[in-house]
Symmetry: C2
Subunit: 175 residues, 2 copies
């Protein structure tokens, strides 16, 4: 199983790091794509190696798209290739998990009309304007779309991702 | 709000690091106590600064006791002060969260008789022998006692801790 994280500089550190570590613990391979190869730096200073540029992403290799928040989504949402990746996951009904400002990328891709979602409070109105049904809850699950609001929702967000990937509770015992 | 993590060398890295980061995101202060001051090293190489020795712990300052797993609990369970700390939390009905081999400390403290618990599969029999009601589930919750089996249960474990601490979903928005 393989997950794709799409992010950029000024991501919210914990929203990339904690899902990354959790997915690896579940035995999921994780690639990180950004505007270009190299390193991206989180809002709080975390440095993360990028696996590939957006242009190099082969969406069909992945079972999950994960979109961390922070200020990264405002850059990512301008990238046509990023929107194309998001649309592919929706078309294929593959799991997409977005937290905080991450859902902004899905707004720009025109994917949220009629979807039950949440996101950081400052984007609640933008989500509604995009036709989404906004829920002020730690995690909103609409079929294969999982959204959360903020780092303090992380427990519920990770658990929803695990269930959506249908990873059995005994599949990986890494301790 | 303040949490106490009790661990030692050869802790399971993610079982200390992820709860630590999550609690900090929730706005909870976190101290780490071990056999002695200095640094403890995880099984996978993570280096963590210890706040204080077990002897210096003033249990009444804390709202949560967190016991990560790995090989650390086998050392911690031999320490009378660690068992005393665990007993204090139970007497005061304060939340205790233990994952993986962490519940071994509670076994040694004689605290699990009749309690609904889980833990790493290799300690299932030991838990039953201690009088616990063993559940093979990602998280077992018995009043203020929260137990999980392994790193892949982390989402459910963290969410149960947040609920037990009754930290409102809007209390801390750190992004």
């Amino acid at each position: 199983m393989r997950a794709l994280i799409v992010s950029a500089d000024f991501f919210e550190d914990s929203e990339l790091k904690m899902p990354y570590e959790y997915l690896r613990k579940l035995g999921v391979d994780v690639d990180i794509a950004s505007l270009k190869k190299g390193t991206i730096i989180g809002k709080h200073g975390l440095s993360v190696d990028v696996t590939m540029s957006l242009d190099e992403v082969d969406s069909k290799k992945y079972d999950l798209l994960l979109l961390p928040g922070g200020e990264a989504p405002s850059a990512i949402r301008k990238e046509p290739k990023a929107l194309k990746i998001a649309r592919y996951f929706f078309e294929q009904k593959k799991p997409v998990a977005a937290i905080c400002h991450g859902p902004q990328i899905l707004i720009s891709a025109g994917l949220l009309k009629g979807k039950i979602v949440t996101g950081y409070k400052s984007i609640a109105q933008e989500l509604k304007n995009a036709g989404a049904i906004y829920r002020d809850e730690e995690v909103a699950i609409d079929k294969n779309l999982i959204t959360s609001r903020q780092p303090s929702d992380m427990g519920a967000f990770l658990e929803a991702i695990r269930r959506c990937l249908n990873i059995g509770i005994h599949e990986k015992n890494t301790q």
